[in-house]
Symmetry: C2
């Protein structure tokens, strides 16, 4: 009788962080592709572009002028999604859009304040994260750490999201290497879900281990699996402090997670040696990404950690980063998470183990060097 095989048979895997399922159809990568192909941005860029809103010393669309910065550079987003000051949402204003039903649970709404910033990773217009030196990447992490510390001290801020959109396919409108910070007066849906899951895990295991943590346990389990053999390994690379892996429940074809190997609530508690370790993993992972299809690999990435340093559930939080890259087959053929995925459930076309093994096989040296 035929045996079930993860590499051949359709199955669903459960994501314990978001508590939802992903459908995995490993044979599906074989179908021919006649759909949209991605535009790849020109790889030839000048080190300085006088028309770029992010280059040192340049004037931005709104008239403000950038410093002549030489390392990282943080400035307010000129088109912020949230603002520091705005009126609270009154019952009267809600009644204008929800009429007499304004008090029903079908029309729940709240005013949101906050602030948005841009974090330039480097003055060099022509480089991207994987092309920066370890020292330069350390400086980005230190900048994140200080932005997080500053915003954590602001009583109006309940959540700080650090992220990067890289590449045209991920809605990035400027190739100058940069990320963003959106800090809000409330904790958004995704981190709220993760925190609930982390809290529930601790609660379930508290009798045997008062500091039980799902991600600590997951790191240990993936180390065991890797020790048991290459075939069951999802780890791409690791060092003493961090592990980059394709999670068992990954949705995007080459989705990865960088996770602290020891319990760390947030970037605020990273000492210099840990910062260097994170920089090494960031460089190693993004170089392998670029090498996979010999292109500047698009992705959205972001940090998940304690919402702020003083959040009541901070102790349950475990620092990690998600990388969601859209590419599936080549530099120009992406995965579309559309009809079935939007209506029903995310679906992937290769297993997490297959993706991890392909990423592991890449050289850690960037293809352009």
């Amino acid at each position: 009788e035929e045996e079930f095989s993860f590499a051949d048979h359709s199955h669903r895997r459960f994501n314990p962080l978001t508590r939802s399922w992903v459908l995995c159809s490993p044979h599906r990568a074989k179908r021919p592709w006649l759909g949209q192909v991605e535009v790849t941005a020109s790889e030839e860029r000048p080190a300085y572009d006088p028309t770029c809103f992010l280059c040192p010393g340049n004037q931005r669309a709104t008239g403000a002028q950038n410093d002549c910065y030489a390392s990282t550079y943080v400035f307010p987003n000129d088109y912020a999604a949230v603002h520091t000051e705005q009126p609270a949402c009154s019952a009267e204003s809600l009644a204008l859009v929800a009429g007499e039903n304004a008090s029903s649970d079908l029309f729940r709404v709240e005013s949101t304040r906050g602030q948005c910033s841009v974090v330039c990773f480097s003055p060099r217009h022509d480089l991207t994260l994987p092309e920066l030196s370890l020292n330069e990447i350390c400086q980005i992490i230190r900048t994140w750490k200080s932005v997080y510390a500053d915003l954590s001290a602001n009583p109006d801020i309940a959540y700080i999201q650090l992220f990067e959109n890289k590449g045209l396919a991920m809605g990035c409108s400027n190739p100058h290497p940069h990320g963003q910070v959106w800090a809000l007066s409330s904790v958004p849906s995704e981190p709220a879900k993760e925190i609930e899951s982390l809290k529930a895990y601790r609660q379930t295991h508290i009798s045997t281990n008062p500091s039980a943590c799902m991600l600590c346990a997951y790191v240990r389990a993936e180390e065991d699996n890797t020790a048991a053999g290459e075939q069951s390994s999802r780890i791409v690379l690791q060092n003493e402090s961090f592990m980059a892996l394709v999670p068992f429940w990954a949705t995007w074809p080459f989705e990865t997670m960088i996770v602290a190997k020891h319990h760390v609530e947030s970037i605020a508690s990273l000492c210099e040696p840990r910062i260097a370790d994170l920089a090494e993993i960031l460089q190693g992972l993004t170089c392998r990404y670029d090498n996979l299809f010999q292109c500047s690999f698009p992705y959205s990435m972001g940090l998940h950690q304690a919402p702020t340093a003083t959040h009541p559930d901070a102790a349950c939080c475990h620092l990690h980063m998600h990388f969601y890259p859209p590419l599936l087959r080549s530099a120009t053929v992406r995965k579309f998470l559309v009809g079935f995925e939007m209506m029903a459930e995310p679906q992937r076309d290769l297993t997490a183990e297959q993706a991890a093994s392909r990423l592991r096989a890449q050289s850690p040296v960037h293809y352009k060097t």
Copy 2:
């Protein structure tokens, strides 16, 4: 003192179906766009394309030959994500990828069976849903109804998803008008969430109304709001049986929902007059979509209803369709739900009321006629 205004100030709205929030930043549509522009497919297509895998009489990539169909046409997807027969996932096979941790709640997995079909909407290669006649659209709905009835009778099927991906931007690889059916041995995450919400709503209101339904209540509330004035209306069009509206909690810029105005569990119970009413709303909505930016408007759409006719919670389910179109500003500038949206919370750049008012303002007559 300044008053809170939905059209000017950032706020979050709660989606009671999926129980998550969406961040709304209505002022953000004003920022300049320098990012990716969409490729628009050529609008000139022949009525019959000898190289198309979906045209009548043609041979498909796998060798099978299409019938010389004259109306709708259903055939098995040659690259199905799930198959009718496959082994169950044994503890031994799981141990191969999850080692000694296979029994932990971090490695939950299940085998998934099912079947996938393609539903051609018309033999004409050059038309799209909004360009079909009401009679032809009725025929599509009748086809959905019979596909749903057939699959509902299959004891191996727990869930039936009918959907359409339209346009290159939505991962559609063939412009021939068609949708898909993915039928599975388990209920996927999204509908499972919606069913939980509908059940919880009924439970909360059961003492005053034993057949309380969130979507019935929502339809009534939106009728009230519209009666109270244009400014608070999210309805795009309606007739006796169905309403098309931009839900209060919409995520995509021009996201809409078509919802049955009376409690209907599934497409299985639609009589001919209701089918004609749904066809009228489908045509009216998709024509307005095309007219908005004078292009073949891309979207993913799908039906949500009782998972199968015999599902234990079928009575709580309320037939509705979601349309998720990506475009934001023009035929070539879309909304990217990326970094912040993936890591934290969906974010939109105009209010549901603004989107509804723009769709309402479109002519119901297709721009090409």
